[in-house]
């Protein structure tokens, strides 16, 4: 039967969330002739409707439902209701994203072995290896269109990247480039080449930037096997007495509730909503939350070591002209405990417009100290520092019984304390960044505290043994045979790399596995 599918059709695969994980998975399944219903909480905002303006775009695309924040990290104070920055729209956070696509390095799948036991951290080796994932990395890059891979040329460096490169050169770094970037440098896959518009974080009116909105979802829909239902917020997942999931209850735009039956359910709501949904689907059979016999659902929440350095120069940079993050230094992405911490980090260009700069540069700051910096805006260059952070059992997403959202559900609370390793890496990275900008003539530098997390990971982690995590090597729940997790929640550890390429590679791999299992009537 061609899409749209009936609510009572229990032969469909239901995918919750249409972002990097869900959108990719849904299309891969549809391409194989498998019927899929994607339930997406957000609206469908086509690229033509995107706006080159930060707050309006944020309001149009971001997840603004109520959340709470606790713990000792600075963000809990600066942004008490915004622990994370991700999307609520068809296509998910890649509609907001920049497009940096580094792969994990081989040892980053084995950090428990390589780093050893670290107090306060719950390191665990992934149940899969780089070698196993490599073919899927290839397919992910080809699917997204990643500059610098598979014959797509690297981007031309913009002003911000040129400053970064010259600083890197003077520092003696070797590995700096515009990097693997999922934004067309030349026309590809029916989408045009970049116009260096500078509004990657605000959607992308031209469609040059990859997201499921402009790529996977329309492709999947064209097969007749995929239906995307926007403004459909899944409230809970249901199961039968045998412990198999049978469908999901969701609220439509008017708040009316519906039950969509399903043969298989795949959760891809990003690493805060995914555990929230599992915890909120507790039942007699699963008293601590669905698929949570390990107690690991919501734990080991990772957000990446994050710091930002702005360099202020004698002369204009106009760093806002050009692709937001096409500029990367990879020299610091290695593991050497002699640096005083484990794991590595990347330096990546970043720019913000005056509106976001004012909000994020130094929250709470005011007076001439603040405005003199803003007045120098045109002379700014900027880099974001992103590195591996430690999973910890107590950094976790829980349900906050005291606060409910518009659906009457308890909101997620994100508790986070910076691990000592994160702080040490951050201080080291910040010093490298500052030195790099000084090397190319910075007259001032500014150190910006972590933003609301754009990289959310680990809250339904993959593990060999059921007691150590929530899902197996395919992303299938240890406790529930026909329930999968298909987003960044499955990361066993976070590596230094921006996560999305890995999320997409895992989703493609998972689609192959689900299709195989369906064919064998094993699901």
């Amino acid at each position: 039967m061609p899409a749209p599918f009936d609510l009572t059709d229990d032969s469909v695969v239901v995918v919750i969330g249409s972002g990097a994980g869900g959108g990719t998975l849904a299309n891969q399944l549809a391409q194989k002739g498998i019927d899929v219903v994607v339930l997406e909480a957000g609206k469908r905002v086509e690229p033509e409707e995107h706006v080159d303006d930060e707050w309006p775009a944020f309001n149009q695309l971001a997840w603004l439902d109520m959340r709470t924040n606790s713990g000792t990290y600075r963000l809990a104070e600066d942004f008490p209701n915004l622990p994370a920055w991700h999307s609520k729209c068809v296509g998910g956070s890649p509609v907001h994203w920049a497009g940096c696509c580094p792969r994990f390095q081989d040892w980053e799948f084995r950090t428990r072995t390589v780093y050893g036991e670290i107090p306060g951290a719950t390191l665990l080796d992934w149940p899969i290896t780089l070698e196993e994932l490599e073919p899927y990395y290839d397919r992910a890059e080809a699917n997204m269109g990643v500059a610098g891979t598979h014959g797509m040329p690297l981007h031309q460096p913009d002003n911000n990247a040129k400053v970064l490169f010259e600083g890197a050169r003077r520092m003696g770094y070797q590995k700096y480039s515009t990097g693997h970037y999922a934004h067309n440098s030349v026309p590809y896959d029916g989408r045009p080449a970049t116009v260096q518009d500078g509004f990657c974080f605000e959607g992308n009116r031209s469609r040059a930037k990859w997201s499921p909105l402009v790529s996977d979802l329309p492709k999947g829909e064209a097969t007749g096997h995929l239906e995307v239902r926007p403004e459909s917020m899944v409230l809970r997942i249901e199961h039968d007495d045998a412990g198999r999931v049978t469908g999901v209850v969701y609220a439509d735009a008017d708040g009316a509730e519906h039950l969509q039956r399903a043969r298989v359910v795949c959760v891809a709501g990003n690493a805060i909503e995914t555990p929230r949904l599992l915890l909120g689907s507790a039942s007699n059979l699963h008293p601590d939350g669905l698929a949570n016999s390990s107690g690991q659902v919501g734990r080991n929440y990772m957000r990446h070591m994050s710091d930002t350095c702005w360099g202020v120069f004698d002369e204009p940079v106009h760093f806002y002209r050009g692709n937001t993050m096409a500029g990367i230094v990879e020299d610091e992405a290695y593991h050497d405990p002699d640096r005083g911490f484990v794991g590595g980090f990347y330096m990546e260009t970043i720019h913000l417009g005056p509106a976001f700069m004012a909000s994020f540069m130094n929250p709470h700051s005011w007076g001439r100290d603040f405005t003199e910096l803003m007045d120098a805006y045109e002379n700014f260059a900027g880099m974001w520092l992103v590195g591996e952070d430690m999973p910890s059992a107590t950094n976790r997403v829980t349900l906050n019984p005291d606060v409910t959202d518009q659906h009457g559900l308890p909101v997620p609370n994100v508790h986070f304390d910076d691990h000592k390793n994160d702080i040490d890496m951050r201080d080291y990275a910040a010093d490298r960044a500052r030195t790099l900008y000084q090397a190319v003539g910075a007259v001032k530098t500014i150190r910006t505290p972590p933003f609301p997390a754009s990289h959310n990971m680990g809250t339904a982690r993959m593990s060999e043994r059921p007691e150590d995590g929530v899902v197996d090597r395919w992303g299938r729940a240890h406790d529930v045979p026909n329930l999968f997790v298909s987003d960044g929640s499955v990361f066993t550890t976070g590596a230094a790399a921006n996560p999305t390429l890995t999320i997409v590679a895992l989703a493609i791999r998972q689609a192959d596995h689900i299709a195989e299992q369906l064919a064998q009537q094993a699901l």
Binding site: K162, G198, V317, D375, E378, D418, Q438, I446
Partner: protein
């Protein structure tokens, strides 16, 4: 508030910290009402004196000498709109301007004429109050989102409809070869310190900023 609500119903707003969802709504309001002139002619909740004092106060908090008053007036007009929609906001702003008067020992209308040091001293005493923080949050989001302030910062804004920056200088920086190496020079550093939420530590000497252990 005359904004389109985006599922924010029932949200609690906490004191301290910028409530980014509010910020987003403020941003949207600007976007949907581009004709706002910033005039304080038709205030809905605040009286002229209070509004004028707030204009002086917002300028003193975020002083950009090149910016004409109209940009600060728009911020106050937005605060007025919030005060019209929420009595608590009206009381907060009215009382707050009262505190300003108490703190300075001057009528609110005189605040703008005080020496900058006196303004800053008063504001510093008030900076932890919900009044100050509500005003600060509005300025930070509203002032820097006004499209016609962007030229003062050298920012050119929306670009896609102009063909992006591809042919408009995306890679025109040309001074890099001559840029001095300042690794050993005193270079100021502003640190938004993540370990205590206090005001930024401003350090003006490289020696101070990069202490021995960091080197």
């Amino acid at each position: 508030m005359t904004t389109q609500s985006v599922g924010l119903d029932g949200q609690v707003s906490e004191e301290g910290g910028i409530r980014v969802a509010d910020a987003a709504v403020a941003g949207q309001r600007l976007d949907t009402d581009p004709d706002r002139t910033g005039g304080l002619a038709d205030l809905r909740a605040l009286d002229q004196g209070t509004a004028r004092a707030l204009v002086s106060m917002t300028r003193a908090m975020y002083p950009h000498d090149r910016l004409p008053d109209v940009h600060y007036e728009r911020v106050v007009a937005a605060l007025d709109e919030k005060a019209a929609a929420d009595a608590r906001m009206r009381i907060l702003l009215t009382e707050g301007v009262g505190w300003l008067a108490t703190t300075t020992g001057r009528y609110p209308s005189e605040f703008g004429g005080l020496p900058e040091a006196a303004q800053v001293a008063a504001l510093t005493r008030l900076q932890e109050t919900p009044f100050f923080q509500a005003v600060a949050a509005e300025v930070v989001v509203n002032l820097y989102s006004q499209h016609d302030v962007w030229p003062y910062f050298g920012y050119e804004g929306p670009s896609t409809d102009e063909g992006g920056y591809l042919h408009r200088g995306f890679d025109d920086v040309d001074w890099l070869d001559d840029a001095p190496d300042r690794r050993d020079a005193p270079v100021a550093e502003t640190i938004g310190d993540e370990r205590d939420g206090d005001e930024a530590r401003i350090q003006t000497e490289a020696g101070q900023a990069r202490s021995g252990e960091e080197d």
